[in-house]
Structures are given as structure tokens and as C-alpha cells.
């Protein structure tokens, strides 16, 4: 058996295990539901393989777990930030768009970055292009570039990617 075939088989197997465990959770481990569960799990696996996804670059689950508390804390901080601004009678916002040149090239990593930016205080990702990201911020005085750069490094670490240290110049 060639290396690519065994790699593909292990990918299929991992997806099968993943969808089986989701079913177990949803059905509260009620095994009598298997006539419905079996086709559902098989179809889900097939669809997820058709849609493609992050292959080749494996996530580092341990690194992901290490950053998880940080993401949760930042998410709570961003909700507080919105609450304070919205409940203040003078509505202290200075919104604007920020263009950020991406160093990440891997698609899965870029999508994770865009989603995480939405959880950070004061920023949402508005448009993801090939080499740059348009971010909307509630406060243009925030150091948006520095904040995203720090996040980008963490995500590169999760995906075992190397990113260039210097920022590329970008003209919109």
C-alpha cells in the first residue's frame, strides 16, 4: 500500500471517529438509534471529504488547548468592551476599516484567524482576500495591526506554519 493511500485511509478513519463521537454525544449514547445514525455518519463523512479541508498541515491539538483559555478570556473582554461603550450615554466609538496584509497562506489558518479576530475586543473581520484582510474596528485608536500580528503568530504555531517576521508593505 502506498503512502498516499494509507494517508487517505487514516483521514477517512479520523473523520468517521469524529462524526461517530458527535452522534454519541447528541443521542446521549443511545445505541438503539443506529439505523438512523449509521447512514447519517457515513453521509457526513462523505460530505466533509468532498468539501476538502485542512489536509497535510495537521493541527497541534496541545497548542490549540493551551491558547483556548486565552481565547475565552478575550471573548469575555470583548463583550465587556461592547457593553461599556453601548451603555455609555455619549456612545464612545470611533469606527473605521483597517487593511491588514496577511502573512499566513494556508486557507484553514486564514479562516481561523478571521474567526478569532471577530472574538477580539473591538475588531471584526469584514473581508478575507488572498493576501490581505479587511477588519472593521470600533475604535481606530486601537493598535489593530499589532493585535492581529500577535494572533497570527499564535495561529501559525497551532498550524505548524512558519510566517515571515517582517510585515509586508501593502497599498490598498
Amino acid at each position: 500500500m502506498s503512502a498516499t493511500t494509507s494517508c487517505k485511509l487514516s483521514l477517512i478513519f479520523r473523520r468517521l471517529v469524529f462524526f461517530c463521537s458527535i452522534w454519541l454525544v447528541l443521542s446521549k449514547a443511545d445505541l438503539s438509534s443506529w439505523p438512523f445514525a449509521l447512514p447519517t455518519v457515513l453521509i457526513s463523512t462523505w460530505i466533509s471529504l468532498c468539501l476538502g479541508g485542512p489536509e497535510g498541515h495537521l493541527l497541534k491539538p496541545v497548542v490549540l488547548l493551551r491558547y483556548l483559555p486565552l481565547f475565552v478570556l478575550q471573548s469575555i473582554a470583548s463583550a465587556f468592551d461592547v457593553m461599556v461603550r453601548v451603555l455609555n450615554p455619549s456612545l464612545p466609538i470611533h469606527p473605521g476599516l483597517v487593511h491588514y496584509p496577511l502573512s499566513l497562506t494556508h486557507d484553514g489558518a486564514k479562516v481561523l484567524l478571521a474567526n478569532c479576530i471577530t472574538m477580539l475586543p473591538g475588531t471584526i473581520s469584514a473581508q478575507l482576500n488572498d493576501d490581505h484582510l479587511i477588519v472593521h474596528t470600533l475604535d481606530t485608536s486601537l493598535p489593530v495591526h499589532a493585535i492581529i500580528n500577535r494572533l497570527e503568530r499564535k495561529i501559525a504555531n497551532i498550524f505548524r506554519l512558519e510566517i515571515t517576521s517582517g510585515q509586508k508593505e501593502f497599498q490598498p
Binding site: I22, K28, S75, S78, V82, L91, A114, M119
Partner: protein, 98 residues
């Protein structure tokens, strides 16, 4: 004790949902409203899930609750991005002071 602790976290969710809704009403344009809805509501739901998980009777229920939270989190981040993306493509200018 667990009942009370769970109830505490569920009640803690109310100010977050409330500020999300107030933000939707007070903020000036589509982009700033997305901020209020995604961030405040995600954390509000997070506290409800956490409170219910404390009251849960089996660990499968706990996993199911956090799975729901994770899926809502992904769905809201993705739809927030899609709405902002669509608004930019239609050349809707973000509101600015002055």
C-alpha cells in the same frame, strides 16, 4: 448548591444579551451593530451554557451543551463575516465621526 451556582451564571448572561440588544438599537450602522450582536451574545450564551453545565446530571449533557455553544460560536462568527463582506461589496460606507 449546584442549583444556585448554575442559576447565578445563567442570570449573569442577562446583562450581556441586554447590551447586545441595546447596541443593536443605539449603534449607527451595519458594521458597528455586528460588533454588538456577535460579541455580547456569544458571551451571554456562554454563561447560560456554563450555568446549565453546572446543573447537568451526566457528562454527556455537558459535552452536548459545549458542542452547541461551539457550533453557535462558529455560525455567528461566519455569518458576521459574510454580512460584513456583503455590505463592503455593496459599497456601504462605514459610519465615521464627522
Amino acid at each position: 448548591m449546584r442549583e444556585l451556582l448554575g442559576a447565578f451564571f445563567i442570570i449573569l448572561a442577562i446583562p450581556f444579551f441586554l447590551s447586545g440588544t441595546i447596541g443593536l438599537l443605539r449603534l449607527p450602522d451595519i458594521y458597528t451593530r455586528l460588533h454588538a450582536l456577535t460579541k455580547a451574545d456569544n458571551v451571554g450564551l456562554g454563561f447560560i451554557v456554563f450555568g446549565l453545565a453546572i446543573q447537568a446530571t451526566s457528562w454527556l449533557e455537558v459535552v452536548k451543551l459545549f458542542l452547541i455553544w461551539f457550533l453557535v460560536l462558529m455560525a455567528s462568527a461566519t455569518s458576521c463575516h459574510l454580512i460584513a463582506d456583503a455590505a463592503l461589496r455593496r459599497n456601504i460606507k462605514p459610519w465615521t465621526k464627522e
